[in-house]
């Protein structure tokens, strides 16, 4: 499994060359200098989301080289193959999330235009959205290859549009605001536990779906 993660790491390093990483950092810095606290929170949402599309890059590389078929001849279970991809992508998002949290804390210390709590909440929300996107994307990429990204993006945009439409034509908006207020009054530990449990269930479902799709794909 470590071998497969090392391979994914090398593919990502090849894709994101030092020049690309420096360009991303320079643009991020530009945003922060221009928009201060708002720029940092924007980065906290966008950067992990960009990293969440890693499975598409890895799948493209695997399909191009034929590694996705070759790896079946190696002494590693299908579960191990899928698990290594999940671990690698989640690790990468966690690393990016940590980076954006540090950037947000530093931005707050330097500019102090937004409260630290808001910086942290937005960074964590950005991280959670990215992980959710990744958990949806992975099975889609195993099922549809690189088109999986388009499918998931389409479904998510459609879901958001439908939600906004529903808020406009019903009293769902009021209920949603009441629900958010209710959440804010609950003990933070319970909220964290609930979110943790929800993500665990989604992760398990996503993993099983990926495994099922992956096994079915090659067992023809």
């Amino acid at each position: 499994m470590i071998g497969l993660m090392y391979k994914d790491f090398k593919v990502m390093i090849d894709r994101f060359k030092p020049a690309n990483i420096i360009a991303i950092l320079v643009v991020s810095l530009f945003f922060i200098l221009l928009m201060r606290g708002s720029g940092a929170t924007f980065i906290a949402i966008i950067l992990p989301l960009v990293v969440a599309s890693t499975p598409v890059i890895l799948q493209t590389s695997d399909e191009k080289s034929g590694w996705d078929k070759y790896v079946w001849a190696a002494p590693i279970s299908k579960k191990g193959i899928i698990w290594s991809r999940y671990l690698f992508c989640l690790g990468l998002i966690a690393g990016t999330g940590l980076f954006t949290i540090i950037v947000n804390i530093l931005t707050q210390i330097v500019f102090q235009d937004l409260p630290l709590k808001l910086h942290l909440i937005i960074s964590i929300v950005g991280l959670l959205i990215s992980v959710l996107y990744l958990l949806l994307l992975l099975p889609a990429v195993y099922a549809y290859g690189t088109s999986g990204n388009t499918i998931v993006s389409f479904i998510l945009i459609a879901a958001v549009m439908f939600f906004l439409y529903a808020i406009n034509i019903t009293n769902l908006g009021d209920k949603f605001i009441r629900f958010v207020k209710y959440l804010l009054n609950i003990d933070i530990k319970i909220v964290c536990l609930a979110i943790g449990f929800m993500y665990m269930v989604i992760s398990l479902f996503s993993f099983q779906l990926s495994l099922m799709v992956y096994t079915k794909k090659f067992k023809r």
Partner: protein, 291 residues
């Protein structure tokens, strides 16, 4: 009890829309250089995929090293080296990266041995695979597989893209592994001349069925290819004619019966390729009782 077959297959069936692989029984001996021959689309790659459990079968049992290839899949794959026609490593990696990756995948990985083969094949350690030639890529495949000393090496058309010099070198290494280390090699190829030089055992697959599977010498000793003129009255029982083709005024037959063909011109330099060609191109439904 000592095992004598590296691969044992029973009632194996894999059906596609326009093709069916059907093997009632096939035993391949351990510690031998085995050639898997057959024309394109005969079922060689399907058989290899089934051996590696890469595709689902309709029915049947496959045992490798005496173990079921589904229930003991990981254990078996640790002892098998597979080399395909292409190099499937990501093109951004170099041979040092490959070592770092593969050493985590195979229990018996030997870095020293890998580096030895890299040097022997003149493969630069830090050159990316995307800059390798086709021959270099295939040599890298061999270096990787030989590094973990598998008990069975399966090659699917892996030597086809190599020039004769490298191909001979690779075949010499494989032959050496078989003779000195007692490992088994299963080579699927359409370059039959290679197999005639190195193979101990041959399995001929045609249209999804095993036509013969025996030691090379037994095959060469048991068949006769004879050519005779149509006007010659030669009595050959129909059941003795395995296959036949027409060449203008002559008839070429593949038979197992050495008698009754005295008038015919017998091919003294008969090769496995001749036998295979007659099987593939020939017919065996003619009434030979009175030619």
């Amino acid at each position: 009890m000592e095992r004598c077959n590296v691969i044992e297959i029973e009632n194996l069936k894999k059906a596609y829309k326009n093709f069916e692989l059907n093997i009632k029984e096939l035993d391949l001996p351990e510690g031998k250089f085995i050639g898997l021959i057959g024309e394109n689309g005969a079922g060689k790659t399907t058989l290899i995929k089934l051996l590696l459990n890469l595709i689902e079968r309709n029915s049947g049992e496959i045992k490798i090293f005496g173990q079921d290839n589904r229930t003991s899949e990981i254990d078996i794959k640790n002892k098998i080296g597979v080399i395909f026609e292409s190099c499937y490593f990501p093109s951004c990696m170099n041979s040092v990266d490959i070592e770092k990756m593969m050493c985590k995948l195979y229990k018996s990985w030997d870095t020293h041995r890998y580096l030895e083969y890299l040097a022997r094949f003149d493969l630069p350690p830090f050159k990316k695979i995307r800059e390798y030639s086709r021959g270099m890529k295939l040599k890298l495949n061999f270096a990787v597989v030989l590094a973990y000393e598998p008990d069975l090496i399966i090659l699917d058309e892996a030597t086809s893209g190599l020039d004769p010099i490298i191909r001979n070198e690779i075949l010499a290494i494989l032959t050496d592994i078989v003779t000195t280390e007692g490992k088994s090699v299963l080579l699927s190829t359409h370059i039959i001349s290679d197999l005639e030089k190195v193979a101990d055992y041959l399995t001929f697959i045609h249209d999804g069925n095993i036509i013969f599977s025996d030691y090379k010498d037994n095959i060469l000793n048991s068949y006769i290819i004879a050519r005779f003129h149509k006007r010659d009255k030669i009595i050959i029982p129909q059941e003795d004619v395995v296959a036949s083709i027409y060449e203008r005024d002559h008839i070429v037959i593949l038979t197992k019966n050495k008698l009754n063909i005295m008038k015919a011109e017998i091919f003294k330099e008969m090769s496995i390729e001749d036998i295979m060609l007659l099987y593939v191109k020939g017919v065996n439904d003619r009434d030979w009782s009175d030619v």
